[in-house]
């Protein structure tokens, strides 16, 4: 039982991280109709930037986070202008290659700067172990959960109560109608992509004190986020969050009870099953071919 709870807590932490990444991807899929292959690489960059600033340059923890998020904001803006905007009206093939190219660039830039060794950014909190009866928990896990929940609430408030947030929701329902009603789709796209990028980066920032970040983690993370998005149903943010937690917990249990080496395989299998048996939520055309 204790072991089960231990795994469950690890699963919830994973789930919170996946949920943050998946949430950004849902926004992007909903508003810009773009499946971003580089989404997980922003997660990876967030993690590395924290390691670089906080561990290597010894900049205070909170300041490191702020700087990282500012860098993610700038990257998000650049990504929208350079990649998303020019391919928005092209076929899925061009979009795939363009975002894949971005993923190649980001992950290899990370290799050039920081090498291929996995890195960790341990903080005071992550090293403080709490004992709840037989269970031991790193205090940082609460931070992860807390930050994730705050982000969900903030995002939900943003999309429901601000003008640009409402425009985002409108655009995710009907892009063409937005053009007709004079909503500035360009600006909406810019804001959406930037928020999406920052959320992915934030997820990297909050998990790196607990788990290693490595340059190749990006595409794995993209796949996991995508699995959550498809599982939850297109554009359904609540669905994506719940699916991300399910995925995180299933993975943790699989890793604990079956095999930790094949932990990722579990999520790939889930992804393929979801894609095969519930594909219509996302990419599937409803034709009987």
């Amino acid at each position: 039982m204790e072991i089960f709870l231990q795994y469950l807590i690890a699963g919830i932490t994973n789930g919170a991280t996946y949920a943050l990444v998946a949430l950004g991807l849902t926004l992007l899929v909903g508003v810009a109709r773009l499946v971003n292959f580089a989404h997980g690489d922003f997660f990876m960059l967030g993690g590395y930037l924290l390691v670089f600033l906080f561990v290597d340059k010894e900049i205070p923890y909170l300041l490191s986070i702020v700087i990282t998020l500012i860098v993610m904001l700038i990257l998000g803006l650049l990504f929208e202008r350079i990649v998303v905007h020019p391919t928005i009206n092209k076929t899925w093939r061009e979009q795939l290659v363009a975002t894949l190219a971005t993923s190649i660039i980001l992950s290899n830039v990370a290799i050039l700067f920081w090498g291929t060794t996995p890195r960790l950014a341990p903080t005071k909190l992550s090293l403080t172990i709490l004992r709840l009866g037989p269970i031991t928990i790193s205090s940082h896990r609460f931070v992860v959960f807390f930050v994730a929940v705050i982000s969900f609430i903030a995002l939900s408030f943003f999309t429901k109560n601000t003008k640009i947030g409402k425009a985002m929701r409108a655009a995710s329902q009907n892009r063409d109608a937005c053009l007709i009603y004079g909503i500035n789709v360009n600006f909406v796209s810019l804001v959406t992509v930037t928020i999406s990028t920052m959320m992915s980066g934030l997820a990297g920032v909050i998990i790196t004190p607990l788990y290693n970040v490595s340059p190749t983690v990006g595409s794995v993370m993209t796949l996991k986020a995508l699995t959550s998005v498809v599982m939850g149903g297109l554009g359904n943010t609540t669905g994506a969050i719940i699916s991300a937690f399910i995925l995180g917990i299933v993975e943790a249990l699989f890793s604990g009870y079956v095999s930790s080496q094949y932990q990722d395989v579990a999520s790939f299998v889930i992804m393929i099953l979801i894609l095969v048996f519930r594909p219509h939520g996302m990419f599937g055309k409803k034709v009987g071919i």
């Binding site: 409803k286 034709v287 009987g288 071919i289």
Partner: protein, 251 residues
Amino acid sequence: MPLLKVCGLTKKFYGITAVNNVSFAVNTGEIVGLIGPNGSGKTTLFNCITRMLIADQGRVLFNGEDISNFKPAQIAQKGLARSFHFIRVFIDLTVRENILVAAQHHQQDNDLEQIFRTKNSRLLDQEILIKADKIINFIGLQGLTNEKAGNLSYGQRKLLSFSMAIIFHPKLVLLDEPAAAVNPTMIKRIGEYIRTLNQQGITFIIVEHNMEFIMGLADRIIALDQGSIIADGLPRDVQHDYRVQEAYFGV
């Protein structure tokens, strides 16, 4: 035995019934017009017959054979061709290649023969090439034989997709608005083609909004409204049917 028999076909989208328990039969040699206001389920009906959409209920018999569980490609190979409302052509292929590719899947040689260009395969190549050039002349696109289909005008694409539907000598052709957004001369030409082909034994079901065109062409009219058949009979009778009038004009 009717050529096509549709029994109780029903298709719902998220609770909206697009096609509601539709049954009808079409005999060999007929030209049947399918009319109805926008959203009455004509295109959905076509899609269900050709299995581009999977119907919720009902069966489709073609030539006495139940095709309800066939794949679209199998249905085409049985001799049931169709054209699309939004004109589709293969944009990277030339006009001639478009017609060839539409014809070639009704030939009896395997992929290996095709890859290694066996004698049999080359003879078949010649055969369809002659057929394709014939039909290009028939529809009057001979000047554009080697032009990419992606560069054609809307009307030219329409003629091309029309000829792609008839090239493999189908028994039955479903045409989705062949006269829409086409100039009057072209409409006349399309009507003539349909009549010529009909005399050669091809049966047609035609969805059309152009009443003058379809009433002059069809032997029989089926009218749909909100997914159900509201009239089925001679063009004259259907035109004056009060339910059809009501569906169109809300009288």
